[in-house]
Amino acid sequence: MIDEMSDLVYGNLLIVIGRWEQIACYMDGLLAEKNGLLDPEYHDSLLTDDATFTRSKKYFWAIEFLIEAESSVLDNINQARRFVELMNSNPPSEAVARRMFVMRLKKHNTAIQKLEIIREGFMKKKEEAKALRDGVRHDSSTKLLC
């Protein structure tokens, strides 16, 4: 009886994963300072911020959002695991149905693995944003150092 709902949950979970992947792609673009590695002058400029803290604000927002996103993906994982546990507690008795059931379980576990990869990606990205933020000096502080 749970099999029908399982397909619906799985199909929609894939869509949710797609949305998270779009967010991950956007964050890659937002924090794409690694492109500056081949441009020393630009890379040096990453150490300073302008008078309105443009770079600092961006990193600050990215860190806060990535904390929230990581927490949200973790909740997705927990919900999916709970559903898989529920499936496991209601296995079908017929052999044919059981084969389908095993396939469904496998698909759900693959989706959970994808969510775990996305979560790890967000955690790494958060550390990257923190490193970038910590490296930034505001104009006024730079002048003081000089």
């Binding site: 029908e4 949950v9 979970l13 949305r19 998270w20 779009q22 967010i23 961006k58």
Partner: protein
């Protein structure tokens, strides 16, 4: 996936906090005495509340549902939306500007926290089919693809698509509720 929680703002401004669940989902509130029975009411409203307000379902809520045999799969997530020109939408779900997006070409995109809710509720689909032409179309499309659900003992219902149909107050219109031609 988007759900039907985006209202087109007409002449009057509406504060989303003023909208109650009964306003947003009158079908369920008006038929709950005549159709739904405890503990289904409780389950439906818990799911509706979490869905409409984009709230996460706590462990204690799951623990309360499972002994009754009701199943709820509910997740919240974020998604990037393309801004639509010429249409002011009131989003019930948390929604705002995407950081630094104004520097790219085109209209700035939005970022929104959204919800997916799937619940197993038995006779609900039949009732919803008579709710509106749009819902009828959506439910029929769903059933066409999931005939085993229609003929089985249990029906899974995607709340984002079928169950949550906010009916706008005066001054607002819900695009999804406009009659199909």
């Amino acid at each position: 996936m988007q759900g039907l929680t985006s209202l087109t703002i007409g002449d009057g401004l509406v504060d989303p906090h003023e909208l109650e669940d009964n306003d947003l989902c009158p079908f369920l509130s008006e038929t709950k005495v005549s159709f739904f029975q405890e503990p289904m009411d409780e389950v439906v409203w818990r799911a509706v509340k979490c869905h409409l307000r984009c709230m996460r379902v706590s462990e204690s809520e799951h623990a309360a549902l499972e002994p009754k045999g009701w199943m709820l799969f509910h997740v919240t997530f974020y998604e990037i939306l393309q801004s639509q020109a010429g249409e002011e939408l009131l989003d019930l779900w948390p929604c705002g500007e995407l950081h630094s997006d104004r520097y790219r070409q085109g209209r700035p995109r939005k970022i929104r926290e959204s919800t997916l809710t799937v619940s197993r509720l038995s006779p609900l689909v039949h009732m919803l089919m008579s709710c509106s032409r749009l819902l009828q179309h959506l439910v029929q499309s769903f059933l066409d693809q999931n005939l085993d659900l229609y003929t089985g003992r249990y029906y899974a219902c995607v709340l984002t698509t079928f169950l949550i149909c906010p009916t706008p107050r005066a001054g607002t219109t819900c695009p999804a509720n406009e009659p199909t031609k």
